[in-house]
């Protein structure tokens, strides 16, 4: 990875805790690191280590207790709910473990969803959707409902939905966690291609070392502390 690229994500002294009854449970403690443009970062760690919470904070779907998160130069910890929603629509592409597609919408309609928040015309939206579905190799399944697709295909639709707005950042939370080995490999190949060929910056939370191997950089979280930073072995 080229180190001279500017950081797209800058995290400084980030802390987050949850309240469980009267107890305050720290989840992230004083986290600081940068993610550079075009990087593919894997966040690893045991369950409860805070990796999904960190991902949620970077994606602007959770609020930090203290610290700063800048994405593309924008300090997102100070944005209001509405501003954050607008910011997410144009800057973040989400890939979830359970695909999280809307079951009553076809593949085309699911991918079109984020584009409804843009000023694109119906025809332009359709063009973008078709390109995104072609990129993930589902041009022949456009009018299928999620229930008619395999897990791997559903995840590819979810990836198409994540990239259709051409966001600044792709965040993936255990994207292969619900897939068999073959489908998982296909998804990781696809994410690798998006990173290598389209220059997408990807942050992926995973338990799976094989998935993490695809990243340029692996960061380990343990009990809310970022303690090791390894380059991936390729």
């Amino acid at each position: 990875m080229e180190n001279h690229r500017p950081p797209i994500v800058e995290i400084r002294n980030l802390s987050k805790s949850y309240r469980r009854g009267s107890q305050v449970v720290p989840v992230l403690e004083d986290i600081s690191f940068d993610i550079r443009e075009g990087e593919f970062l894997a966040l690893m760690g045991p369950s409860g280590s805070g990796k999904s919470t960190l991902l949620n904070l970077i994606a602007g779907i959770d609020q930090a207790d203290s610290g700063s998160i800048k994405v593309g130069g924008i300090e997102i910890t100070t944005l209001s709910e509405t501003e954050l929603a607008h910011w997410r629509a144009f800057n973040i592409g989400f890939i979830f473990q359970f695909y999280n597609l809307i079951p009553v919408l076809t593949a085309v309609e699911n991918v079109e969803l984020p584009l409804l928040l843009t000023s694109l015309s119906k025809r332009e939206r359709r063009e973008h959707v078709e390109v995104a579905l072609r990129v993930v190799g589902l041009a022949d399944r456009m009018d299928y409902y999620p229930g008619q697709l395999s897990g791997g295909q559903q995840q590819r639709v979810a990836i198409a939905r994540a990239v259709v707005t051409d966001p600044t950042l792709l965040v993936a939370d255990e994207p292969t966690g619900d897939l068999d080995r073959v489908s998982a490999k296909e998804i990781l190949d696809l994410m690798g291609r998006l990173n290598n060929e389209s220059g997408k910056t990807i942050i992926m939370v995973t338990h799976d070392p094989r998935a993490a191997e695809r990243a340029h950089l692996i960061k380990h979280l343990d009990k809310g502390v970022l303690n090791v930073s390894d380059p991936a072995p390729h």
Binding site: I61, D62, T82, H86, F94, Q97, I102, V104, L105
Partner: protein, 385 residues
Amino acid sequence: MFLIRLLIKNAFRHKLRTALTVLGMTIAILAFGLLRTVISAWYAGVEASSANRLITRNAVSLVFFLPISYKDKIRQVEGVEGVSAANWFGGIYIEEKNFFANFAVEPQSYLDLVPEFVLPPDQKEAFLRDRKGAVAGRKLAEKYGWKISDPITLKGTIFPGNWDFTLQGIYTGRDKTVDESQFIFHWDYLNETVKKVLPRRADQAGFFIVGLKNPHLAAEVSTAIDAQFKNSLAETLTETEKAFQLSFISMTEAIVIVIRLVSFIIIVIIMAVVANTMAMTARERIGEYAILKALGFGAPYLAVLIFGESLFITSLGAALGIAATFPAARAFGNALGQFFPVFNVAPGTVYLDIAASLVVGTVAAVVPTVRAVRIRIADGLRRIG
């Protein structure tokens, strides 16, 4: 358009649940519409009453009569255009269950004062000529299969004996609010017979129908008429026809209140049912709402989805309910025609049905929308999988 398609698709995700909710709404709107129509039917006489007419009756009670000589004195009161004497006859046709309103009236003046009874000229002339002639409303004639020139016998209850009439006319209502199930005949025929068999009850009228030159002067004319007979043996009470009709309704007001209350209770019950459906729906989809929020959809989008789905379900139920109300009201009106001669679904009832469905749909969606909007995205996403 996309959101409308999505909310309609959402509405049919659980087909059975949606079908049952729509059915519940349909039945509720049907019941609400019928009960409102019963109330309208109750007030049909009031609605049909003319602002141009006053009713003068005995101040003590309607069961006491007034001397027929009052007629000329009333006619001389400033602002009075015409007067007609009438008596409630209370006759029975063959057997008691065949109840309908029947009055002895002064034919010419009565028909002049009640133009909403539309009678063909030849029938009117025949009726005026024949002292034993009678006129029946269209619905009444249809019910008993009466035709012009048919002999009809009523058994008197207030005025004993068998009273023979010849049907000389069949009137139709000028509009849908007019009662087409009344029976009228010559007051002279009644009076002449009463003179022979019950002389002390002769030359008396049950009430006078008073035509006004100017309906705005109803209060002044009423006061002037009653002043004429102050301190007489038979003091009068003059009121507008509307007030006269309302005085009958007031006797049964408790029933109307109960019907009105029940109609609103039905709406409250269906509101709870739809609210429950929407709460279940929103609870099941909380993860999806979290995803939509993560994708950047704000509260207004979620509100459109949830309110839209709720309103779609209630509107569908209301549309079916309203469509069913008309044939049901027709059947109801046919079965209970003797109690409710005018049983029509009023436009106001349809508007109330629509308003009720909008209120139910809106109220049912409030709590689920608030929950969906307030859910933290991270918490919502945790519920998936």
